[in-house]
Symmetry: C2
């Protein structure tokens, strides 16, 4: 008899995305890719990491290579708590769980907070990786009205909030849109959620990547007992370490810890100690400005190219930080079809539709500007501009 | 309104184990602990790891710190496939998924293969971490008859096999019992599973830790299309790296990859490259014999102490490899209660009950011998022997 591998319903629902298949071609060196969500490797502090690994393996090799506590390496948890406490509210280290990238935080939250059919509120659009992680636990997503400033708090009714397990959002330089929630919206959102008794899940991998202007307070700092916060070292140090963290009220954290124990026992001790060594003397405060400067320059370069090359029917935002620009095409254009044509001309981006939990808007797309050199930004955006002009002309001819 | 964190049913079912609480005291330096599942840090190849990290950060720093493919670092996957192919059957690298410790493999398998109520077959007793990982997906465990040689294949009826999603087992030096399945049993198990069409999940973290005698063929090598295999670098290199792997037929692997993408995107690139550098020239074949020699000596030391100190009513096995000895107390004795008394005298072990998926046998316990120096093994086993003699005397007096 042939061995039968019966897949769970949740595994059957997992589908390999068509986009992912198309984007495999972006690995070809001749492709100019605005598709990646990768930070620029030029920002990785290699020398610092070398010193940190050398120190860890010299001073505490056996501890660094041994199993460790599920909650994480204590000095790192304390460092994280201290840094987050800069936001105003004091965050104790006992609320911090170190995770294997903040993606793992999403998986653990799904496990601990979502039953089949649970209502989960998300932005429109939202981070694809979160939608995927939560989907494994079969929630009912409800997509909240959002504009260029994030969730439109005024447009949300008490019925929309009622009974939700949590509201998931990225207030800073959101993936995919690059948008940032202004202070007034943050205040309104925290108040709205507190009034409804609904927890907020604040995902903040890009918060430190502001090109200028003041940092805005986190939702966590506004209501530590009502917010689960997720942070990451991926965008400020290096993503290949897979080091993130979740901050949650103690009773939730205890459950996340139990779920993490079953998921991978703990995040690699070695990487935790190396990252702690790398950051403990204030290094990030010297290092992050260099990332901001690079990304700000790259962003300006792409914005200039868009101004120059894109037809006037196409619109986009002007990010104040982060890694992405969000583009709106005229109704009737499909960015998935555009991608197929762009790839033929060796240019890639990510179509916007998969970022919508419900009612996908196919006339949107995401551009990442951080890893592509200036002249390639120019060349790639020129190609996209030409394709868009042709598409719009064809659309008009058909109308 | 107070924010309400409504836990999922699966999170509510997670309980903090009473044992775990008791075992927290084992962190006190005066406690002689046979409770840990930790490998001996004396076996960690620190100098080798230093050279490997240094090489990775010198030769490919940016790639090592960047995001990587979910499947894992290709040269490492190829190395793993090649090593497993020594078992006879050729295992292609396309069947290998690198995981964040083999614990993650268990979580991914639960996600991909278990629906609520799915029948999952396990040994009696079985690895606690697997029971915990699978439990999150609410299977119906069925515990197969087992003896000192593992699953008693002759005693299994077709009805017991029918409809199971998989049969999970550790053929080599099982955690918690230290037992190894002999060749005939392996053959019978593979045949039985194949006849029933039920996949085998072979968990093999201890396979290389044989103190002597020949290695036995893996279930994987006997039927690559019917077995999902899990391996780990934790016991042969260092556990703090959290590096394991799953080998599965392509259609299952594809789903595991999708589930892993949602779980943590990928296992840290840096650790994967460091481990690859550490092992690629055949290092493990030189290194593992030193671990075997140490653990074999430790095991003999504990066995001698048990012979000397334990009353004749107590029995135990004589492991041929691995890290654990399994002890059977007379019926009527409860190892949980024994633990409380032992901890008062600064000795710890793990009671056996939690390792049973159903029908826990409270008169069992697990002893780990790998990290405790010889004189402390003597002292600790002496204390346990005294307690056991007193318990047995009390049991007789009560009868």
């Amino acid at each position: 008899m042939t061995t039968t591998f019966t897949l769970s319903r949740r595994a059957q629902a997992l589908t390999s995305s068509a986009i992912r298949e198309i984007l495999k071609v972006t690995e070809r060196p001749e492709v100019i890719s605005f598709a990646g969500g990768l930070p620029s490797p030029a920002t990785f502090p290699v020398e610092r990491m070398r010193e940190a690994t050398e120190k860890v393996l010299r001073e505490a090799p056996q501890a660094a290579l041994q199993y460790g506590p599920t909650e994480g390496f204590s000095p790192l948890r304390e460092w994280i708590a201290e840094r987050l406490s800069r936001g105003g509210a004091r965050i104790p280290a006992s609320r911090v769980l170190v995770t294997t990238g903040s993606q793992q935080g999403l998986d653990l939250l799904g496990k601990v907070l979502i039953d089949e059919g649970s209502k989960v509120l998300v932005e429109t659009p939202s981070y694809l990786g979160a939608l995927q992680a939560f989907s494994l636990f079969s929630p009912q997503f409800a997509s909240l009205p959002s504009d260029a400033q994030g969730i439109v708090t005024d447009a949300i009714s008490p019925e929309q909030m009622a009974g939700a397990r949590f509201l998931y959002c990225l207030p800073n330089f959101q993936n995919p849109t690059g948008r940032r929630m202004p202070l007034e919206r943050r205040k309104a959102l925290v108040e709205l959620a507190a009034r409804a008794g609904v927890p907020l899940v604040e995902d903040d991998p890009y918060g430190e990547l502001s090109y200028g202007g003041e940092a805005l307070p986190s939702l966590l700092s506004m209501n530590p007992d009502g917010v689960i916060y997720m942070g990451s070292f991926s965008k400020v140090l290096a993503p290949g370490l897979r080091l993130g963290y979740v901050v949650a009220p103690e009773q939730v954290l205890a459950k996340l810890v139990q779920a993490k124990q079953a998921a991978d026992l703990h995040t690699p001790t070695f990487s935790q100690r190396v990252v702690y060594e790398a950051v403990q003397d204030g290094f990030l405060d010297r290092h992050i400005p260099t990332i901001r400067a690079l990304y700000g320059t790259q962003c300006q370069h792409m914005l200039a190219a868009l101004e120059r090359e894109f037809p006037e029917e196409v619109t986009w935002n002007r990010p104040e930080g982060g890694m992405f620009i969000w583009v709106q095409l005229p109704k009737g254009l499909d960015s998935g079809k555009l991608l197929a044509k762009a790839v033929e001309r060796n240019v890639a981006f990510v179509p916007g539709a998969p970022f919508y939990a419900v009612d996908p808007q196919t006339n949107t797309l995401r551009l990442s500007f951080v890893t592509v050199p200036g002249e390639k930004i120019d060349a790639g955006i020129k190609v996209l501009g030409e394709l868009l002009k042709a598409e719009i002309a064809a659309l008009r001819a058909a109308a």
